[in-house]
């Protein structure tokens, strides 16, 4: 089965379906899109089952030498990419279903754009060639520009422009950095570049250029301002995919490019990431607290969650990076679900004003239940996906810097505040408004979207090992790559008192003992 071109097929199916959608008429386009995304999801599950955990770092590799001259059609995935691809293929059919009735005009084009989006997302995660990656990375702008601009809200044109130009401005600097890397290393092959040692002073510049791009995509404070606009104006499914997968491209870029390729620069400049993440966690959480627009609130909460991801990644240790990855996956599911929750009631009342709702628990009990689950998952209640990710990443951050961990934890408390406040205002309270009273509960289609999302959120919370296992080896590789450059943390975590005391006597080469010793002398 190893020779089976899973990745090319995963890219080809939605690409062909996208072209087909343009020609088969609005009604058929929906079915074509749903069929294609479901087949792709099934295919990605087969791929997951074939993925050899603990096997070769790169699997399902495909390479056609010289197809594009200086760069190749080179695909291949490790555990990190695998999970993100499965996340994308999982969300896509749900997005198509979510727009089943909400989208009425130019359905063919809409479905084509979503399928194009799927191609782009899978391509970004599967590309093993630097230029191929860049092409996919940038190509995502085009369908998203259309999705926001054509099917968005009242201020959609402004939001589409802002999204496009903002992210483009970020990305172009990364292109220059890539050109410099290709010139220096003489290859576009990502695995080779990941173990290439760039000169340290060059690393700093490359790091900054990549950071400019990925920080916008992520998005990190203070370059996050495009996100609330884009989310608020985008149609429900657009927000789902934007929050669910597109933001993950930033995090993926950090862990795939910046950390393994520029370890020294990452260590030197980690303070930037920590500082921005700390500001983002607290500031955007506070901003979320005062929003009166549901989508904006969730958009700001995304920025806060992504800040925990960046801080977790730059903790440079196993828990931090694994935790950050789980936060990304969890956020991908949960924020998509939350945007869908917003979409459900938006479709009924056509407003995103929080104050217009209230008391939904009475007439929409099933909705209230699901919304509750996703709210809790977003807060990080144990048993939900959010908890695993946040716990692991903050444990990792704590090892690197207790202050950053302290501030990030504050953000989680604030997160509970704004999410519960949102939930209270929408679902609880008196059911007084007549139009709200008239809102029916979930229909079967909405059930079909909510149920899988809820199942995954719980699965990830109860048995995260399914998701941790494929990525463990890859995270270890990244950590090993970063180890020489890694600065000492301030937490001086040791492996427990008795063991540490024993090792203390043995000598200085044991890192844990070193740390303990240094801690004792403070």
């Amino acid at each position: 089965m190893s020779g089976f071109p899973f990745l090319s097929l995963l890219l080809a199916i939605p690409a062909i379906a996208a072209v087909a959608c343009l020609f088969v008429g609005d009604r058929n386009a929906k079915f074509v899109a749903l069929g294609a995304t479901l087949v792709n999801f099934a295919l990605s599950l087969v791929m997951w089952s074939q993925f050899d955990i603990g096997g070769a770092q790169w699997q399902f590799q495909e390479r056609s030498e010289g197809l594009f001259g200086p760069f190749d059609w080179a695909l291949g995935i490790d555990g990190l990419a695998l999970l993100l691809i499965v996340l994308s293929t999982f969300l896509m059919p749900l997005c198509i279903l979510a727009s089943w009735e909400a989208i009425t005009k130019r359905v063919g084009l809409y479905m084509a754009m979503f399928l194009a989006m799927e191609v782009v997302m899978i391509g970004v995660f599967a590309a093993q060639d630097l230029l191929l990656f860049y092409i996919f990375f940038e190509a995502g702008l085009i369908p998203m520009y259309f999705i926001i601009g054509i099917w968005g809200g009242a201020n959609r044109k402004y939001a589409a422009f802002k999204f496009f130009l903002y992210t483009l401005l970020g990305s172009v600097l990364m292109l220059i950095a890539m050109i410099a890397m290709i010139a220096e290393a003489g290859t576009t092959d990502i695995p080779t570049l990941m173990s290439y040692n760039f000169p340290v002073d060059m690393q700093t510049w490359l790091w900054l250029a990549f950071f400019a791009s990925l920080a916008v995509k992520m998005p990190m404070w203070p370059v996050h301002t495009w996100l609330p606009d884009a989310h608020v104006q985008a149609p429900t499914a657009g927000s789902m995919i934007l929050a669910g997968v597109l933001l993950k491209m930033g995090g993926y870029g950090f862990v795939r490019f910046m950390m393994p390729m520029f370890p020294e620069a990452s260590a030197q400049l980690m303070w930037i990431v920590f500082a921005l993440s700390m500001v983002a966690v607290v500031y955007t959480s506070l901003v979320a607290l005062v929003q009166s627009d549901m989508k904006k609130l969730i958009a700001y909460s995304s920025v806060a969650h992504m800040a925990i991801v960046t801080a977790g990644l730059f903790a440079f240790n196993q828990q931090g990076i694994e935790g950050a990855m789980i936060v990304m996956l969890s956020h991908g599911v949960v924020s998509a679900a939350l945007f869908f929750c917003v979409g459900v009631i938006y479709d009924r009342l056509h407003t995103r004003e929080i104050d217009r709702y209230g008391g939904l628990a009475v007439n929409m009990p099933a909705y209230a239940l699901f919304f509750m689950l996703f709210t809790m998952a977003s807060i990080g209640l144990p048993g939900t996906s959010g908890f695993v990710g946040e716990f692991l990443s903050i444990a990792g951050i704590y090892e690197a810097s207790s202050w950053v961990a302290f501030v990030c934890t504050t953000g989680i408390i604030l997160g509970a505040a704004y999410m519960l406040y949102l939930y209270r205002r929408i679902v609880f309270g008196e059911l007084t408004k007549d139009d709200v009273k008239a809102m029916p509960d979930l229909n079967p289609r909405e059930w079909a979207i909510m149920a899988p999302l809820a199942a995954v959120a719980l699965w990830m919370g109860v048995y995260p090992e399914s998701f941790l296992a494929p990525m463990r080896g890859d995270v270890t590789t990244v950590v090993a790559r970063l180890a020489p450059a890694k600065p000492a943390g301030d937490a001086h975590v040791s492996a427990g008192k008795p063991k540490a005391a024993e090792k203390h006597g043995e000598g200085h080469e044991v890192p844990a003992g070193e740390a303990h010793h240094a801690g004792g002398s403070q």
Binding site: F146, K157, A160, F164
Partner: protein, 476 residues
């Protein structure tokens, strides 16, 4: 001498074909336009075959004044192709006023451009350039009764004459201080100590050529001429002469001024950045699609000049690739403009009238969207690739600040390209009814170029890379 003639078959074919078409036109009158069109196309096709046959040759002819090589061949193929398209699309535009002179003038312009691309002597350079320009002046004012067309022709002529003057002044200085009009000899002279005369010569020659490629600050004529000239002629101006002038500039810079890197490089860098920025900023307020495309061409020339500024083989390769992709994109965009007619058959040039085009004419709007994204250089469209090559050449030549400035300014340019797309896709339908129809030739050219510029183009990279590498290697 006779041996030399065998090496300039493309030029001979164009000369003979042009004269024959002219004679036919004189004797048969304007009713047989189809015949002249066919004659001109056959001539261009035969010339292209001759170019391909000579592609591997590398020789100088007529006392070292012309170079027959792959570099010129590459440029000529693009020039002939663009000329053929300009002839093909003309009859439908000039529904009443199509005359025999049109294909003839294009043929002579193509001849002049071929000489420009092959020139390796200041004299042939000037002869080729003037032959092209004179044909172009007439073409710009081809619609004699149309005020805008006449104005465009006159403006082009006056400013073109000024540029020719500057160029001639530069040529005379170079000749005076280097003692020769031969590029190779000039190169050895400027390789030594640069005196003030040579520097002035370099500056004036580059200014004159800057006018021809419409690089800022010598671009003022471009929007006016593009707007005023009949659309097929504008399509021609935006494509073929750009190729010729850019090829000429490349050869002058690399072959004649090559050793004096310090002297020309800063000028080219200035032209590049000024063109990118002004081409982008100037386009933002435009309401006329032809004017907008004029600014877009200024903007794109800036990116080509980034490749040229590197002055390396990779840079020249980038310029050549860029030219090909740019010409395909621009011709495609002008073909879309040609399709835009209201119910009475009048041309539509106003951008607001495009509002909602994607609902009236989805195919046309999609093609235009491809061209716009491609001009903006957004991957996965093929317009990305030459931009990438240009930036790569700059980075590899240690011009990182130039590359960074250029690429950041390219974001300004992206604004107005996506503005067009916004108008076509996001805005509500405009009042103006856009009539359907269009002929099969134009439709095919548009479809093929749009497909090529979408992902398909990437498959041609190895071929394109080999051809452009062979062409660029000639200069080094």
């Amino acid at each position: 001498m006779t041996a030399d003639l065998a090496l300039i078959w493309p030029e001979l074919i164009l000369t003979i074909g042009g004269l024959v078409t002219l004679m036919l036109g004189t004797f048969l009158g304007d009713r047989q336009v189809g015949l002249y069109q066919l004659a001109a196309l056959l001539t261009l096709g035969a010339a292209a075959v001759a170019v391909v046959a000579l592609f591997g040759t590398h020789a100088t002819v007529f006392s070292n004044t012309l170079s027959v090589d792959a570099f010129g061949g590459f440029a000529k193929l693009i020039i002939y192709g663009a000329s053929a398209v300009s002839i093909l699309v003309a009859p439908r535009f000039f529904t009443t006023g199509m005359r025999a002179e049109y294909p003839v003038l294009i043929l002579f312009a193509a001849l002049g451009m071929g000489i420009m691309a092959s020139a390796r002597d200041l004299m042939t350079l000037y002869v080729g350039l003037e032959l092209n320009s004179l044909a172009a002046y007439v073409l710009a004012s081809f619609m004699r009764t149309d005020e805008r067309s006449s104005e465009a022709g006159l403006k082009y002529f006056v400013l073109g004459a000024l540029a020719s003057g500057m160029l001639l002044y530069g040529i005379s200085l170079l000749y005076g201080f280097a003692g020769s009009t031969d590029f190779a000899t000039i190169a050895t002279r400027v390789g030594g100590e640069l005196n003030i005369g040579l520097i002035f010569g370099i500056v004036f020659v580059l200014a004159g050529l800057g006018f021809k490629v419409s690089a800022v600050p010598f671009h003022m004529w471009t929007p006016d001429v593009y707007e005023g000239a009949p659309t097929p002629v504008t399509a021609f101006f935006a494509s073929a002469p750009k190729v010729a002038a850019m090829a000429l500039m490349t050869r002058v810079v690399v072959d004649a001024m090559g050793p004096a890197v310090g002297a020309w490089q800063q000028i080219v860098i200035f032209l590049a950045l000024a063109s990118i920025i002004l081409g982008a900023v100037g386009a933002i307020g435009q309401k006329n699609i032809k004017r907008l495309l004029a600014y877009s061409s200024i903007n794109n020339v800036g990116f080509m000049l980034i490749g040229l500024a590197a002055g390396t083989q990779l840079g020249v390769q980038a310029v050549l690739t860029y030219l090909l992709v740019y010409v395909v994109t621009t011709l495609g965009a002008f073909l879309v403009v040609l399709q835009l007619r209201d119910a009475d058959g009048n041309q539509i040039e106003s951008i607001p009238a495009l509002a909602g085009l994607s609902e009236r004419r989805p195919g046309l709007a999609a093609a235009m969207a491809v061209f716009m994204y491609s001009l903006a250089g957004i991957p996965p469209l093929f317009g990305f690739w030459p931009k990438y090559l240009a930036f790569q050449a700059a980075v590899n030549a240690n011009l990182v600040p130039l590359a960074v400035a250029g690429i950041v300014a390219s974001v300004i340019g992206a604004y107005y390209y996506i503005m067009i797309i916004k108008t076509m896709y996001f805005d509500d339908k405009s009042e103006v009814e856009i009539s359907g129809g269009g002929n099969i030739v134009e439709g095919t050219i548009m479809t093929v170029s749009a497909l090529w510029l979408s992902i398909v183009g990437y498959l041609f990279i190895p071929m394109l890379g080999a051809a452009s590498a062979a062409a660029a290697a000639v200069l080094f």
